[in-house]
């Protein structure tokens, strides 16, 4: 019966995404995005990925929302008056085409959660069989991040560093060139 709960959560996700799309108030959109991320975290926990669920709840529902609220506070809360409320044919066609291509790709995949799907194959999985002996960590996701794919994690930290430098540089440059701009 757990799939009923799962289905209800997934339907709620779609409703929330549509609401965030429709709302003219950006603050409302940001808060709905936070709720959406939190529900997504519950689904991740349901799908046996507690690490992702924790990170999504902290980063997706927490820090991202704070960033959006900060940006909205420094700009304006409502959208400007535009005519993008009604359905636009051009973007809709593009989106439907891409959706059809993705649906065709998914249709060729094995069913969700089936034990013989390549993504879920456990026998012969090196990480699960040797991870604990090699690294001494009980949580295999941690072992992969910090040991097997540690260069990946280094790259991730480099990205954080570069973005921090870029944001500092953007705001410093703005203050220096203040007289030219105004």
């Amino acid at each position: 019966m757990i799939w009923i709960l799962n289905g209800a959560l997934l339907l709620t996700l779609i409703v929330l995404a549509l609401w965030a799309l429709k709302s003219r108030d950006l603050l409302v959109s940001a808060m709905i995005l936070s709720l959406y991320s939190f529900l997504m975290a519950i689904i991740y926990a349901q799908l046996n990925s507690p690490d992702i669920a924790l990170t999504e709840a902290a980063v997706g529902a927490g820090i991202t929302t704070v960033l959006f609220i900060l940006a909205i506070q420094k700009t304006r809360r409502t959208e400007e008056e535009t005519d993008d409320d009604q359905l636009q044919i051009g973007p809709l066609c593009v989106v439907l085409t891409i959706g059809a291509v993705l649906a065709l790709a998914v249709a060729g995949m094995p069913a969700f959660g089936s034990p013989d799907s390549p993504g879920a194959t456990v026998t012969g999985n090196l990480y699960l069989e040797e991870g604990q002996a090699t690294t001494g960590v009980a949580n295999i996701v941690t072992a992969i991040i910090a040991y097997y794919r540690s260069f990946d994690t280094l790259g991730e930290i480099t990205v954080i560093f570069a973005v921090g430098i870029a944001i500092i540089g953007l705001y410093l440059k703005k203050q220096e060139g203040f007289d030219d701009d105004e």
């Binding site: 950006l26 046996n48 990925s49 997706g60 960033l67 420094k74 989106v95 969700f112 959660g113 973005v163």
Partner: protein
Amino acid sequence: MNIIDPGFILGHYNYWVAIILIMIGLYTMIAKRNLIKKFIGLNIIETAIFLFYISLGDVTGGIAPIFAEGSTNPPDAVILYANPLPSAMMLTAIVVTLCMTALALSFAVLIYRRYKTLDARRLMELL
């Protein structure tokens, strides 16, 4: 494989939801003119992609890839574990998404300070 088969449709429901969310996010990015609204659409696309990957790694009746205390190695063949690799890759992706959102929003704030608008069409006229 019959496309109309209800078992086929229900068996992929996580994937269908991920595709619908990607479509909603993409529509938000293309059709909406407010920059912050576009970034909200970008976030929706990314969480949908995470959902897709996590669904790939899950296995029915499996448990999270964390060994119980005292469990020996190799793990019991009886216990099914979810694949840990998608989780590990998506952990990296979540942080990169956060960085991208932060950079995009700081650009939006700077654009608003200079041009007093976040409407993409008006910005194209001003530039």
